[in-house]
């Protein structure tokens, strides 16, 4: 699995982890973001998928700036992938839905 972290710089000039993107082999890149991103995060998630943007070119959709930067791509071993993503979700305060036990999806 390949992962790239996105950092934002706060009022004091300190960079903090804010979001990340990952991809598993041939799968589309998934952009993961916290609730401060809101609808903006949702649009970017859609654009990355729609345009089939790779991790190395993700700046095309989310450009870097004085207060926003992408870190280098990290390669994570498959056996550590799940725990690595869980850790990133915690660090970036990304909500993770639980199993949906009470919902009903009507196919027809």
């Amino acid at each position: 699995m390949k992962v790239r972290k996105l950092q934002r710089r706060d009022e004091d000039g300190v960079w903090y982890d804010d979001a990340y993107a990952f991809s598993n082999g041939k799968e589309l890149v998934t952009f993961c973001y916290n609730l401060t991103w809101g609808r903006v995060g949702d649009h970017l998630y859609g654009q990355i998928r729609e345009q089939n943007i790779g991790l190395s070119e993700i700046e095309k959709v989310i450009p870097e700036g004085e207060h926003l930067r992408w870190l280098a791509i990290e390669e994570i071993k498959e056996e550590k992938a799940e725990s690595h993503l869980e850790r990133l979700d915690e660090i970036c305060y990304i909500p993770k839905p639980r199993f949906i036990g009470r919902s009903f999806a009507l196919a027809a």
Partner: protein
């Protein structure tokens, strides 16, 4: 009061504004809040989207934000006094505020779509149609807001209807 907030208020749906008691001051609050949570991003913010659409779709965005802000304020969290990084944590700790805001946004969309197009969609169907990512839908479905029905076969039709709603300037 800034003229641009008054002008934006005039471009939003009066029925939705009245139901959620949204005033010019609330629009100012929403702008400030979004400036904090989406500070220093290099892409267009939710505030710009709200202003761009206006009409009923812009109203749905305003409803989401003001409901979230009011819930946070009711918990004495003072969202306008926080730093972006603090709000990152607070929003994750008060995820139900976001879920309730999503629910109210789509209850309104359900009503306004029925009013304008005479079409009816389930709330969950509208959430799925109105988001690229399924996280909001999943958070909503697993919440304590009730049991909701998602009609997969209506999602694309709902998506087309929302697209049409985005073009509606006045109700």
């Amino acid at each position: 009061m800034a003229k641009r907030h008054r002008e934006l208020l005039a471009r939003l749906d009066p029925v939705g504004l009245n139901r959620y008691q949204i005033t010019e001051v609330d629009l100012q609050t929403i702008e400030k809040y979004l400036k904090i949570i989406q500070a220093r991003l290099t892409i267009d913010s939710t505030w710009q989207e709200l202003v761009q659409y206006g009409g009923p779709y812009g109203t749905s965005i305003a409803i989401h934000e003001i409901v979230e802000i009011r819930l946070l304020r009711n918990r004495r969290l003072r969202p306008l006094k926080q730093r972006t990084s603090t709000l990152q944590r607070l929003l994750a700790q008060h995820i139900d505020a976001h879920v309730i805001a999503t629910y109210e946004e789509h209850i309104y969309l359900q009503e306004v779509i029925h009013r304008i197009f005479n079409k009816t969609f389930q709330v969950a169907t509208l959430i799925k149609a109105n988001r690229n990512n399924t996280t909001d839908l999943q958070l909503f479905l697993e919440s304590d807001l009730g049991v909701y029905i998602l009609k997969e076969n209506r999602v694309e039709y709902a998506r087309q209807t929302i697209r049409a709603l985005k073009g509606v300037i006045k109700t």
